[in-house]
C-alpha cells in the first residue's frame, strides 16, 4: 500500500485527524439520522403513548399506555379489513405485475423483434408518470357508464361493472391500475436477467430439438427464477405501502373495500390526530414487511442448470 493511500486512510486515533471519509458521508448521515432514523425511533416511542388531540394542546395530557394502542388496533375490525385489503393488493397485484413484466420482457428481448428501444420506452412510460395524474385518468376510465373500460368490455358481451363503486370490484380495479403503472420497471430487470442467460444454453437446447416453449421452461425459467422471485417479493413489499391510489380514487371506500393500512394510518394520524394509534399501525406495517423480507430470504431459490 502506498504511503499516500495509507495516510489518507489513517484510522481515528489520538493526535490523528478524522478520516476524510467521515466528512464525505457526514451530510447524508446527518440528514438520514435526523430526518429518518430519529423519527422512526420517535414513532416507536409514540406508539406506546396515547398522544392525541388533547396532547397536542398540552403535552402533559399524553400518557404512557404500554401496549394498549396495539391491543386496541388489533381489536379494531377496520384494521383487519385494511390488512386484508392490503394483502389482497400485494399478493394478487405483485405476481400479476411481475407476470406482465416478464411477458413484455420476453417480447422486447426476442431476437426477431425490431424497434426494441421504442418498445421499451412505450412499456416504461406509464411508470414515469405522476401517480396522482394517472389515478385521476383511471378514475374516469372506470366510470360505469362513460368509461372506456366498460365500453371495451361491452364489445365482448360483458355487462357494465361499477368498478370503483362496487365493493367487490374496487380493489381489483386498483390492482389493474397499479399493474399497468408498475410493470415497466420490473420489465427492465427481467430484460437484464434474460440477457444474462448465456446464449450457449439456448443454442444447446435448440440443437437438442427443444421447441421455444420447452426452452423457456427448462432453460429460461430456472435461470431466471432467483431474479423473478426477488422481484416479486420486492414488488409485494412496495405494494404493502399502498396509499395514493385509494386516497385519490376512492377515499378508502366503497364500504372500506379499498382502505389500505397506510390510508388507515393516515386517517388516524392526520385526520383524527390519534398519533399513538397511528404510530402503532405504522409499526405493525413494518413488522409485516419484515415478515415478507424474511420469507423471501428463506424461500429464495437457487439458480438451477
Amino acid at each position: 500500500m502506498s504511503d499516500a493511500r495509507a495516510a489518507a486512510h489513517e484510522p481515528v486515533g489520538r493526535g490523528r485527524r478524522i478520516a476524510p471519509g467521515w466528512w464525505f458521508v457526514a451530510p447524508a448521515l446527518l440528514l438520514i439520522i435526523v430526518f429518518f432514523l430519529g423519527p422512526v425511533i420517535a414513532a416507536v416511542g409514540l406508539s406506546f403513548t396515547d398522544f392525541d388531540l388533547y396532547a397536542l394542546a398540552d403535552p402533559r395530557a399524553a400518557r404512557w399506555v404500554g401496549m394498549r394502542n396495539y391491543v386496541r388496533v388489533l381489536h379494531e375490525p377496520l384494521f383487519w379489513q385494511a390488512l386484508r385489503n392490503t394483502l389482497y393488493f400485494a399478493i394478487v397485484g405483485g405476481p400479476l405485475t411481475v407476470a406482465a413484466s416478464l411477458g413484455t420482457a420476453l417480447l422486447v428481448n426476442a431476437r426477431a423483434l425490431r424497434w426494441k428501444a421504442t418498445a421499451r420506452a412505450v412499456f416504461f412510460a406509464p411508470f414515469v408518470t405522476t401517480l396522482v395524474a394517472v389515478a385521476i385518468v383511471w378514475k374516469y376510465l372506470y366510470h360505469p357508464r362513460y368509461g372506456l373500460l366498460n365500453w371495451m368490455l361491452g364489445h365482448i358481451g360483458v355487462h357494465p361493472i361499477d368498478w370503483l363503486g362496487d365493493p367487490h370490484w374496487a380493489m381489483a380495479a386498483i390492482i389493474l391500475m397499479a399493474t399497468w403503472k408498475n410493470f415497466g420497471y420490473n420489465m427492465l430487470i427481467c430484460i437484464a436477467g434474460l440477457q444474462s442467460i448465456p446464449r450457449e444454453l439456448h443454442e444447446a437446447a435448440a440443437l437438442d430439438g427443444a421447441t421455444p416453449f420447452q426452452r423457456f421452461r427448462h432453460v429460461t425459467m430456472p435461470m431466471l427464477a432467483p431474479t423473478l422471485f426477488f422481484v416479486v417479493v420486492v414488488t409485494m413489499i412496495g405494494y404493502l405501502q399502498l396509499f395514493t391510489e385509494p386516497y385519490v380514487m376512492t377515499q378508502g371506500g366503497p364500504l372500506r373495500a379499498t382502505t389500505s393500512l397506510v390510508l388507515y394510518m393516515y386517517e388516524e394520524g392526520f385526520r383524527w390526530w390519534r398519533l399513538g394509534v397511528a404510530a402503532a399501525i405504522a409499526f405493525l406495517l413494518f413488522v409485516l414487511i419484515v415478515v415478507f423480507t424474511i420469507i423471501q430470504r428463506r424461500l429464495s431459490p437457487r439458480a438451477g442448470t
Partner: protein, 278 residues
Amino acid sequence: MSVSRNQRDRVAQIALHSALIVFGVLSLIPLLWMLSASFMATGEASSFPPALIPHRPTLEHYRDLFGRLALGRYALNSAFVAVVTTIAALGINASAGYAFAKLRFRGRDQTFRILAAGLAIPVQVAMLPLFLLVKSLGLVNNYGGVIVPGLASIFGIFLVRQYALAIPDDLLDAARIDGASEFRVFRSIVLPTIKPVLATLALWTFLATWNDFMWPLIVLSDDRKYTLPVALAGLVGEHAQDVELMMAGAVITVLPVLTLFLFLQRYYVEGVTEGSVK
C-alpha cells in the same frame, strides 16, 4: 420439416410484432385518452358511447387551468422544488456513495449495512414524528420542509457506491501522491469519472421529487405553495365532474416528466439495471 426455416421466422416476426402493437397500444391507451379528452369540449368525455377523438379540439381547458386556476404557479412550484432537491441531493448522495466505495474509515461497512437495512423501513412510519420535528424547526408550510427531509437517499448512495466501486484505485493513488487532498481527488477525478451515474441519479431524483405527493400534501397548507400533484388532487375534490378539465390538468402534470424521460431514457434505464445488480 414441412415448413421452411424462413417461413417459420417470418411467422414468428409477424406474431411478435402484432403482440407488440397490441400490448403497446394497451399500455398507451390511458395516456392517449387523457390527451384526447383534454382537448374535448366540456361534457363530451361523459357521453355514451365514449368519445375517442374530440369532435372539435379546443384549448379552453388549458386556458382555464393556466388562467383561472393558476396551474402555472403550481408547475413552477414543482419545478423549483424538483430542481433544488436534485442539485442538493446530487452533492450529498454522490459524496457519501463515493466514500462508502473508495475511502476507508472505521465503521464504514457496519454503517453501510445499517443503512441498507433502513431500506426495509417504510417511510410512512416516520411521517408523523417527522412532521412534528419539521414543525419545531419552523419548516412547516415552507419549501424547506418539503425539500430537506428528502435530500439524503439511501437508494442514491447505493447507486453511486455501486458505480464508484469500479474506479481504479491507481488513478486515485496517483493523485494522492501528487499531494492532492481527498476533496480535490473527488472533485477533479471521481466526479468526471462517475458522470453517467450522476446523470442517472439526477434524473431519478428529479422525477421522484416531481411526482411526490404524500409529503408535500402534509407539509404545505398554503394553497399558493402547492406542488402540481397536490394541486391536482385538490382540483379533483372540487371539479370531479369536469372530466376534460381534469384530463388537461393531468396532461400538464405528466408532460414534463414524460418528455424528460423520452430524451434521457438511457440514463433512466441504467439506473434500474444498475440498482438491481446485487
